[in-house]
Symmetry: C2
Subunit: 371 residues, 2 copies
């Protein structure tokens, strides 16, 4: 994997870069749609390509449980199984065990957990998680980490961080396929000294990229932003930086200012399925009554399939009648908005006007409601 | 509307024809996917076009209730509302009132019914049903008819038929837009003399096309086939003949032999959503265990998006995990099968080998189960 910075913003930490692998190349800052079970919910691989998606995310925890690593392996790996020939990042499963599994026992060796599906008991060690991802064949691999809740006691945060570092070290020793690239995950909760310690120790081990984990776990937005602003510049300039599970449009714009390159979040796809649509003029709840006879598209500025072909009235009609097409069109639109947002960010960085634009966006966007 | 017969089979009543309207032309025999609420469930207009669909069906009863005729009218008619620029046939609502409405009162004037959604009371007269379809702007318009259940008393069948004829006469007097074409619906239950009487009286009134209604209402398949074989040749050669709500692949092949040109049925789309897939080698229930690691497509002979890109294992994985993409891919596949079936029928008619092929298909297909 090559990571080449094309342009560095002068007024912020933002940069435009290219991640190049034999399979495909992605320009960053990049938003990676979440495809938990080997499918970005409601849309096909062709539709994702048409949207310009270059990297999608798969969840190791979910795929391990369903359909199971072995089946995906037998069918030639996740790319072939899901018919996606661009890039795939798989997470470590750590966060899902943390957030979904009702019972878990953490030891130095790994974590024992119960499936949220059937209560069956499973065990993830750092080695096993790498092995699963080797079989999945993802391009970007995450080591098992330990994420603490918010709020957490300092000793707990420290313990999670130490474990994450030792697990990263063990993960580094595991074999991967030549096309795969191992990232590290910086933990350390909301404690700056721990974030710094974790980052430095992981950097010493030399990973292909660095992720910031353990944010967006319930803390106030200001604290999430503060930790992002503190942690990101500690990470090597010449490696991709990935802020896990973030976020809202304004969070992404802020994090790009801090120097983050990669993002994933269920927000655009999940909101779409709930009928909440993003536009450049704000958010819009498609089921609302005023849309019942509006002949306009969701967003006049949007060029997605939904906006090119359908009125708000039709989309509302589909949505309130539980038509499945509504969920797909909403998803296409929201992903299109996120993709456009990343394009806009890159254009502003290229022009040298990013910081000014970003501050204005951050100030105004969160409150906007589309009419 | 022009209806031109291109080829008449020598060994059966089958024919290849073209229905030409200013908007679009469709080759028959044609299968029309059902788009009850102005959307063929799970697929987009673009996907329908890619599948080769030329005519889709809209349900007058459903669209009248949701989103309401007025809204569709205000948004420029059903074609524009649903972003479908090929042809649309709307049914009369008679069958839906018959099958869905819990309470109904039939008089000479029309039918009073309760909405199956909220119990509200509505009234359909022949004139009102034509007016609704005029506002919807469909290319093929069906007059209000009265369908009887199976089994029914002879007096009941006769009463329904007489009413259908008088309502057709009233419908004929109602204004339509220049691009719209009014069909008539032949009723008469399972009584041949009544079917004949109804057909002859309707033919005298001179409609653009003729539909056979009141079949596939619970009668044995042999009886449905017998009535189709009896009724179809009574209808004018130079007008399209439409067998409403039919059917299974073998029913369609049989009816084409009898001289039917147009078909609609929820079967391919509804079965798709239930995971029952049609292939040339038989039917296949995708959730079944043997498919869990099969690397083959649903049907090797099929060229649809699902078969070109995904294994049975992946489609099973999507389906059993309630992924919405499963419903779309299944629908695309089943519609593709029905479209291929119609292409095959036309090729066999063109070659002059249709009857032989049809009899073999009818004999073998119903029992086939794909492995």
């Amino acid at each position: 994997m090559k990571f080449r910075i094309l342009k560095k913003d002068k007024e912020s930490e933002a940069r435009i870069a290219i991640i190049e692998t034999p399979r495909y190349r992605a320009t960053t800052p990049v938003f990676m749609p979440v495809g938990t079970l080997g499918t970005v919910k409601t849309v096909s691989p062709q539709e994702l390509k048409d949207l310009g998606a270059t990297i999608i995310l798969g969840n190791t925890y979910h795929l391990y449980l369903r359909p199971g690593t072995e089946i995906i392996g037998r069918l030639g790996g996740l790319h072939r199984f899901a018919s996606w020939n661009r890039l795939i990042l798989t997470d470590s499963g750590g966060f899902q065990v943390h957030s979904l599994s009702p019972l878990r026992k953490i030891t130095e060796d790994g974590v024992e957990f119960r499936s949220h599906l059937d209560g069956s008991i499973h065990f993830f060690s750092p080695e096993k998680v790498i092995k699963i991802q080797r079989i999945l064949g993802s391009d970007f691999v995450m080591p098992l980490d330990w994420c603490v809740s918010y709020p957490a006691e300092p000793w707990e945060v420290k313990k999670g961080m130490d474990l994450t570092i030792r697990w990263a070290e063990r993960s580094k020793k595991c074999p991967l396929n030549p096309h795969q690239n191992l990232f590290a995950i910086v933990q350390g909760g909301m404690v700056k000294e721990l974030r710094k310690e974790c980052a430095l120790k992981l950097i010493e081990m030399d990973f292909s990229g660095y992720a910031i984990g353990g944010l967006s776990v319930g803390e106030p937005k200001s604290l999430m932003w503060e930790m992002t602003e503190f942690t990101t510049p500690l990470l090597p300039q010449d490696r991709p930086r990935y802020l896990m599970g973030v976020g809202k449009p304004e969070d992404i714009v802020f994090a790009v200012m801090c120097g983050v390159d990669m993002f994933d979040c269920v927000l655009p796809t999940r909101c779409a399925r709930n009928g909440l649509l993003f536009t450049w003029k704000g958010k819009l709840r498609i089921k609302n009554n005023p849309y019942k006879d509006q002949d306009r598209p969701i967003d006049e500025e949007c060029n997605c399939y939904a906006c090119r072909n359908f009125s708000r009235a039709y989309l509302r009609h589909l949505f309130i009648n539980d038509e499945i097409l509504a969920l797909k069109l909403n998803t296409i639109h929201n992903l299109s908005f996120y993709m456009s947002l990343m394009e806009k960010i890159k254009r502003e960085i290229a022009k040298g006007t990013f910081r000014k634009w970003a501050l204005e966006f951050i100030r105004t966007y969160p409150e906007l409601e589309a009419l």
